[in-house]
Amino acid sequence: MPALTQDSQVALPYLTEKAHVKTYDNGYTFVFVPKAGDVFNVSTWVRTGSIHEDEVINGISHFLEHLLFKGTERFKPGEFDKKMESMGAIINAATWKDFTFYYVTGPKGTGDNFDTALDMHADMMLCSTIPDAEVGPQYDPFDPDYSGEKRERSVVIEEIGMREDQPWTKVYNSVNNMMYPDGHPYQRDVIGTRKIIGEVPRKSIVDYYRKWYSPQNMTTIVVGDFDVAELEAKVLKHFDFSKLPKTDAKPMYKFALGQDADTLRYEEIPGDYQTSFLIIGYHGPSPSHLKDTIALDIVNNILGESRNARLIQALIEKPEKPVYNYIGSGQSTYKLGNAFYIQGNFNTPDIKDAIEKVFAEVDKLLVTQPITEDEFQRAVKKMKVNFAETSETASGIAETIGECLTVVGDLGQYVDYLPTLEALTLADVLDVANRYLSRDKAYTSVLVANQK
């Protein structure tokens, strides 16, 4: 049994009981959030995603995520899915830039649903065999005559095809490509390319699995109605890393926070579409800089998120003829620096004018019509209520904690969110808006409607 190195109890907003956060001498972290109700959630977050990939293995984190559902020594491929779903549980996983996570949300039921889920989930995380037959043979995905077997490799290539048919994904990838310098892991699409997925050998995937799925890179979170001592014993029994080969791989970040690419700032992508899709990206603060991150959330609420948001009012609601079909904004939390995006969809063939109108609204917010005290107070109130929503479901709580611990590195963003929000002033918010959203810091990409 690993020894505890840290054991703390943390009060989380809108929850009646404190969360238990435990770290052990092998580096593994376990979090338990007591929550009454008929639903439990168990998830494990791994501190790897496309952040640890290069151009040779781009997409391997996500491919591995698929392959972890393909069996262990104890459970054959598909058995986990069948067993979990036959008790009414929802199972899935997700891979993003900084993390990969796997979860089971299930009904407590009257039997041993949770024990079974924990056992099989832990076995999958630690002991997946990644069978050759499930990975499928390597092949050239551009060869129209290929008639060999198609297995999970092809499933991921189909997922790439699905994303290629999503206009927002196309324009998002284009913006990322400009925002980060060549070689930066955030520049690449998390899913990888057809060529890499078609050709990456199984051995590379297994090596990657063994390198990163180690105790110091993993956090397991359980939300539900359990006794903490019993639960901890069960979790440590199933997450027994002692028989696994040791690896000291720790996240290493080659690039500085929000490092700029100082080349292209604007790109137009031709497309066979009836409307044009626009994304403007800006580098944001480090996610560990809670004050700036929340201040930028407030700017986001006022600029593009709330019902009365400035971009919505100015570009959709107030003009005699709406300029945009849709417009909104959002802040994404990334380990190497957050990103702030404005995204919009429009019909007009005058692309430059449509884009200029967005910049003009951002300029107003920064210079000519700064955020008012009323706007600021309304945004703060709305954000408090929005925050309550994440505490209503077992999966919502687990995801907030998982992202905090994996991306930011501690629970500060969750625990201190409300007090930090309440302590912010209008001046703080204006300062952040001016530091991050000036016109010269924007990267703009448009998927242009077919003008025929």
Binding site: Y14, T16, A36, G37, D38, V39, F69, P77, G78, D81, K82, E85, S86, M87, G88, A89, I90, T105, G106, P107, G109, T110, P144, E149, K150, R151, S154, V155, V156, E158, E159, I160, G161, M162, E164, D165, P167, D272, Q274, T275, F277, S306, R307, N308, E320, K321, P322, Y324, N325, Y326, N347, R378, K381, V385, A388, E389, S391, E392, T393, A394
Partner: protein
């Protein structure tokens, strides 16, 4: 053992305005959730999409506030409001903190009784049509959405359940009369047949008092749904199988839907069909389509089936997004899997697993106040009762493998006409 009976402990009370209140006390819920369901929806459309336009105009101005003032009033409270148009009803969903109950109801009541004044319609009707049209074009820029849209409009022809985005887009120029739009609003937004579901931690007496005070009976006549339209929906049959396509040459995948008409939500076959759907393709990673077409053949990332039974009719469909050259293989896979359901009894273990899958997920999908409100209110407005909701687990448990075979033959059998809708490169269509 799964519970076959469950008590929902929901208070039912008819308010003095004729509305039915369904209240579930949730002592630990951080927010109040409210859902106002108004019978009507697209089935009440005099012009396809007019209900959508009415619902969209609701927050564009009342006799007391313009659009911006409404938005500011909502943003000033802990209130969040969504308004949506469904095929059989419109729905206002709200979440709020208990402290804002009365002020929030005042805003919702203002939208309910005082929206769409002459001035607003003059200023906003054409703009809203323009906005709605733009949003539809954006939505239909996804080839998957285009194929889905084409499937429904073909299956339901000119009937209200076929009022999908492309149909609304074509009808928008016909919605020109402000008076017609206002009358539609006044006829729809009535308390008489409204169902209000509320969850949260508050005193029932305060809730009833507030609702009765803010929502009096309306003096304008209620809109009646054309019984001939309902009859045509109920009697609808596909007279032939159809193959419809949308060419998009830069599409990476072929987006393939195959659909059949099904029964309404009250039909006895509903329960067996629901289980059949779980087994075939809605049950998650262990469904037959997922295992056969995705896991074993690597044909797709996304493959699934859907059952959509509403008040007067239903539909069943299968979807796959695949590399275009796989089209024929996928269509054959659909036939093979349907044939298996028809010809081979579902094994006892697979059937019992599907029942537990379906019933177990209910507690996850009904974890929060908004989810519970939406579920009970929509069931009620479609004519179900608390008893029906409570008995659902027992009805699912009672389904046999012979029932699955029977409904598979009845709805998906070789004699049943179907629609295949594909969006993708023209070379494979």
């Amino acid at each position: 053992m799964l519970p076959t009976q469950e008590k929902l402990t929901i208070l039912q009370q008819t308010l003095n305005n004729g509305s039915l209140l369904l209240f579930k006390h949730l002592p630990t819920a951080p927010r109040l959730s409210m859902v106002f369901c108004l019978p009507g929806g697209n089935v009440s459309d005099s012009i396809p999409g007019i209900t959508d336009i009415v619902d969209r105009l609701l927050m564009k101005g009342t006799t007391t506030k313009n659009q911006e003032q409404i938005a500011i009033a909502i943003d000033s409270l802990t209130l969040d409001i969504d308004i949506d148009t469904k095929r059989d009803f419109s729905v206002i969903s709200a979440t709020l903190l208990e402290e804002d109950l009365e002020e929030s109801l005042a805003i919702i009541a203002d939208l309910f009784y005082n929206a769409l004044p002459e001035k607003t319609l003059e200023q906003e009707l054409e703009r809203e049509k323009e906005k709605f049209g733009g949003e539809i074009l954006m939505e239909l820029d996804s080839p998957k959405n285009r194929a889905s849209d084409l499937l429904s409009r073909t299956m339901f022809h000119q009937l209200p359940y076929g009022v999908v985005s492309s149909v609304v887009f074509e009808s928008l120029p016909d919605i020109v009369s402000p008076e017609q739009v206002r009358q539609h609003y006044q006829g729809l937004y009535q308390t008489g047949k409204m169902v209000i579901a509320v969850t949260g931690n508050m005193q029932e007496s305060r809730l009833v008092k507030a609702l009765e005070s803010y929502f009096p009976k309306r003096k304008e006549p209620a809109l009646t749904i054309n019984p001939a339209v309902v009859k045509r929906l109920e009697d609808l049959r596909l007279t032939e199988s159809e193959y419809v396509t949308y060419a998009k040459d830069d599409s990476s995948q072929a987006h393939i839907f195959k659909g059949w008409l099904g029964p309404d939500v009250h039909d006895e076959d509903y329960y067996a069909l629901t289980l059949m759907n779980t087994i075939l393709g809605s049950g998650g990673l262990s469904s037959r389509l997922f295992i056969e077409l995705r896991d074993k053949q690597g044909l797709a990332y996304n493959v699934r089936s859907s059952l959509d039974c509403v008040k007067h009719k239903g539909a069943f469909s299968i979807y796959i997004g695949t590399e275009p050259s796989n089209k024929d293989k996928c269509l054959k896979g659909f036939i093979d899997e349907c044939d298996k359901l028809i010809n081979i009894p579902v094994a006892d273990k697979e059937l019992s697993d599907a029942k537990r899958n379906l019933l177990g997920k209910r507690s996850i999908f009904l974890e929060t106040g908004p989810q519970i409100c939406g579920y009970i209110a929509t069931n009620y407005v479609m004519g179900k009762t608390i008893k029906d909701i409570e008995e659902l687990p027992a009805r699912i448990e009672a389904v046999t493998s012979a029932d699955i075979q029977r409904v598979a033959e009845k709805y998906l059998g070789a004699k049943q006409n179907h629609v295949i809708s594909i969006a993708g490169p023209s070379a494979i269509l």
